[in-house]
């Protein structure tokens, strides 16, 4: 058995294989439902209706997709330059902390929203600045530093919520005081549970797309990621580009935490993110690091989570099925994309 490259894959191959991956994922879901002792058709149906079956479900999915678009963009930008930022979770919490710091009375309308959004981006960028400087100066592997910073940041948030940032009216719960009304992101349409954070995420996706395709920095970033040796030979300032990429990536991840606090929760607690930073990696990989596609994959991933929650309540199948579904979706999709360009031959 050997792999041979396919120089010009046919359209059928380009569409058929990803479609096959989706089918395989669906079959996997059915199998998991069978193992859990439920009717697979009912389970699949409930996941779909739970995710997009009603206006409430759809808005819930879009709300859940908002932080995933930000973290997905953060990961996509960094991975594009082959900067392996596994620390979107830490950068997300940095943004959330800033939202509370500036949103609980330190600033009033109309300054508070734009200022705290920018400050959140700076905070997230600074969290990633350390690892990228260690990488460019000393060659320290950023996978390790960014991953470990996630745990440091979680413990720091825990300290804040038990100490200086603890809500005195919180009946002893480890949560921050609530944001003032001026610091909250309004809903896009009054009466519908969808806040402006989602619109901001869409704007961010378009902005990242424009940066990558139209700006000189974006060209340098793609060059460094595609072939760092050639980029260096051509005079691309590789280290500067890596640092700029890190600042952009960290800033985007921070907006996820900022918009969750300012748009949805209204306060900071330790369960603010059920792993949005890590799920952002899946979102970015499924989107093949394309910032516009990140919007679609983030909504898909959010739909799987929201739909699985609803299905779990109705069918009594554990929500872990969502994690397994996403994991198998990612594996099948990566395999399918690989097989578009390569073929297995015998011998």
């Amino acid at each position: 058995m050997r792999l041979e490259p396919i120089p010009n894959p046919t359209l059928a191959r380009r569409i058929g294989l990803p479609a096959a991956a989706l089918t395989a994922t669906t079959l996997m879901a059915a199998l998991l439902a069978l193992v859990a002792g439920a009717n697979p058709f009912a389970v699949l149906g409930q996941i779909v209706t739970g995710a997009v079956g009603s206006r409430f479900a759809l808005l819930e999915t879009l709300n859940r997709a908002t932080p995933l678009i930000f973290t997905g963009l953060a990961v996509a930008v960094a991975f594009k330059a082959k900067l392996w930022n596994i620390g979107a979770e830490a950068q997300l919490y940095a943004g959330a902390i800033v939202a509370v710091l500036l949103g609980t009375g330190a600033l009033g309308s109309p300054l508070v929203l734009p200022v705290s959004a920018l400050a959140a981006m700076v905070a997230g960028a600074l969290v990633l600045l350390g690892p990228v400087l260690l990488k460019t100066r000393l060659g320290v592997d950023e996978v390790v530093t960014t991953l470990l910073l996630n745990f440091i940041m979680l413990l720091f948030v825990s300290y804040l919520l038990e100490g200086p940032m603890k809500d005195p009216m919180g009946m002893g719960w480890p949560k921050s005081p609530a944001l003032i009304k001026d610091a909250r992101l309004p809903r896009i349409v009054e009466g519908l549970r969808l806040h402006w954070g989602f619109a901001l995420a869409l704007i961010a996706a378009v902005a990242v797309h424009v940066i990558e395709r139209r700006t000189t920095f974006g060209f340098e970033m793609r060059a460094v990621g595609s072939n760092i040796g050639a980029a260096r030979f051509m005079g691309v300032p590789v280290n500067r580009v890596l640092i700029q990429t890190a600042l952009l990536s960290g800033g985007l991840a921070a907006l996820a935490g900022w918009s969750e606090v300012a748009g949805l929760k209204g306060h900071l607690s330790q369960d603010l993110s059920p792993g949005f930073g890590y799920t952002g990696i899946i979102v970015a990989m499924l989107a093949l690091l394309n910032p516009l596609a990140v919007v679609g994959t983030a909504i898909f991933v959010a739909g799987v989570f929201v739909g699985s929650d609803a299905m779990s309540r109705a069918a009594g199948v554990p929500t872990y099925i969502a994690d397994m579904l996403l994991a198998s979706a990612l594996l099948f999709m990566v395999l399918a994309i690989f097989l578009v360009r390569m073929r297995v031959v015998r011998g």
Partner: protein, 516 residues
């Protein structure tokens, strides 16, 4: 002699009707090749003619779509390198397949002994290798670590490896590409002994004079088909070249010219060694306007360090670098570009291009940060595309269009795009590092004529090549590099290939290095 004259039994190897397609690309089609006992057959062809594919099919790396392989009258099962080895086919690859950190003995016996017989077989193995070395003139110390050996010695280990496995048919893929003329002579001596011992040899090459010297018969491939089969006694180099490319091609000859002022001067420059790569040792060289300086030498003797220095990737430890009389203070790739240095890198795929990028993006890789391609941090892709289209038209780049990925281009067309990229801004100094390696004859002629035209327009050209023929036909002045040292300048025609070969082997440098 016609086919009917000989019995099938005379042949040690018969390839019959071999065909292999990769998608729409036909790599081999209806190829038939016979090899007799004690015969040397040369397989000639441009790059991409299908030589390597054919040999990979014979050796079991690929499975042919059609056709059969017979060794000593027995059909060879397809896609099984082990069966090919067992049948007595030995292959010496262009890129050696040796483990650097193991001894010569271990490399040769690797994979031939069972897991449980260690120790017992070693003495016998050493004796056998000594006998083979003696019989075939392949002197190499069995206990030496392969990492410490020269390229020529490594090739001998590869040949010993095949002989140790009782190969009766030797396939040599471009064996002389990395050798000095003297080492090539030694290799040919070994091959003659092998033939006398009854082995048969397939010799893949595109160096015609070597083919004429060693082969009995010549099979010429073009576009995956056999286009000619001739006895070497009954033909000459010009006719073989014509067969290879399908038409008479004359490589450009550079006429000597009077050099202009010195544009770039290295004055007693040394650079640090990078890992196992040699640095420069006390190198002084002048690059003059309107002159091609050829740098000959066996690969790995400091040419890479000199190329990196001129490219702006490396700064000298000691010594001065001057451009147009001014000493350089800072030195980066961007500085090199600012000083109008055109850089044709050694490796088109790894440093010359970004394979995922389009032709347009690759065309502006060096100039992207300045107008007209970049204004106030925004790329002007229309300007970039116009530039790419200009290059495609002017340098005859065969492609589907400027938005095509460059990875889909052939080596020659890739090199033409690089040429356009570096020559269009009218450079003063041109570094051409192995500019024609791996190109077909047509592309070679094109690249060389462009370099000559640039020289005639007043540029200083530094040409680095392992191919002495290229160096001798193009250069106004020749230097030889060995172990990071530079020979004096030899004007065109003052040294024969054999004399240059001695310098390449390191002779003549003694007592020449200045006292520090």
């Amino acid at each position: 002699m016609t086919r009917a004259d000989v019995q099938a039994g005379d042949y040690v190897l018969r390839l019959d009707g071999i065909a292999k397609r990769f998608g729409p690309l036909v790599a081999n089609s209806g190829i038939t090749l016979d090899l007799k006992r004690g015969e040397v057959v040369a397989l000639l062809g441009e790059n991409g003619a299908g030589k390597t594919t054919l040999m990979n099919i014979l050796f079991g790396h690929y499975v042919a779509d059609e056709g059969t392989v017979e060794v000593f009258g027995q059909p060879l099962p397809p896609g099984n390198p082990r069966a090919a080895l067992a049948a007595g086919v030995g292959m010496v690859h262009q890129h050696f397949t040796l483990a650097d950190n193991l001894s010569v003995l271990d490399n040769i016996t690797l994979g031939t002994e069972s897991l449980w017989s260690r120790g017992r077989g070693r003495r016998a193995a050493r004796e056998r290798i000594a006998a083979l070395s003696r019989d075939f003139g392949l002197s190499v110390h069995p206990e030496a670590r392969v990492g410490t050996l020269s390229v020529g010695e490594r090739q001998r280990v590869e040949i010993l490896k095949a002989l140790y496995r009782d190969a009766r048919i030797l396939i040599l893929d471009e064996p002389t590409a990395v050798l000095t003329p003297q080492e090539t002579d030694a290799l040919f001596e070994t091959l003659r002994k092998a033939i006398a011992a009854g082995l048969s040899i397939i010799f893949i090459s595109h160096k015609l004079h070597e083919v004429m010297a060693i082969a009995d018969r010549c099979i010429v491939l073009r576009h995956g088909k056999v286009v000619g089969e001739v006895d070497t006694h009954a033909t000459d180099r010009a006719r073989l070249a014509a067969l290879m490319v399908g038409s008479e091609v004359s490589l450009p000859k550079a006429e000597a010219r009077r050099p202009g002022p010195v544009l770039m001067r290295l004055d007693r420059v040394s650079t640090p060694a990078k890992g196992t790569a040699t640095g420069l040792r006390d190198v002084s060289i002048d690059l003059c306007a309107g002159q091609i300086v050829g740098l000959a030498g066996v690969s790995g003797n400091g040419q890479a360090a000199l190329a990196d220095l001129v490219s702006g990737l490396v700064r000298p430890d000691e010594g001065r670098v001057e451009i147009a009389g001014e000493e350089l203070r800072s030195w980066t790739p961007r500085q090199a570009l600012k000083h109008h240095i055109a850089r044709i890198p050694e490796d088109r795929h790894k440093t010359g291009t970004i394979s995922d990028f389009s032709l347009t993006e690759n065309a502006v890789l060096e100039g992207y940060s300045h107008p007209p391609f970049s204004r106030r941090s925004w790329m002007d892709w229309h300007a970039a595309e116009r530039f790419a289209k200009d290059i495609i038209a002017k340098y005859d780049v065969r492609c589907q269009g400027p938005s095509q990925q460059i990875r889909l281009l052939s080596g020659g067309n890739m090199q033409k795009l690089i040429l356009g990229r570096v020559l269009e801004p009218s450079p003063r100094i041109i570094l051409a590092n192995q500019p024609v390696r791996g190109l077909d004859v047509g592309a070679i002629a094109y690249v060389q004529s462009r370099l000559i035209a640039a020289r005639d327009a007043g540029a200083a050209v530094l040409l680095i090549s392992e191919d002495l023929d290229d160096i001798q036909s193009l250069s106004d002045v020749i230097h030889v590099m060995s172990e990071g040292r530079l020979s004096p300048a030899f004007p065109r025609g003052t040294k024969t290939a054999a004399e240059l070969g001695l310098w390449m082997a390191g002779q003549g440098f003694e007592g020449r290095t200045h006292a520090a």
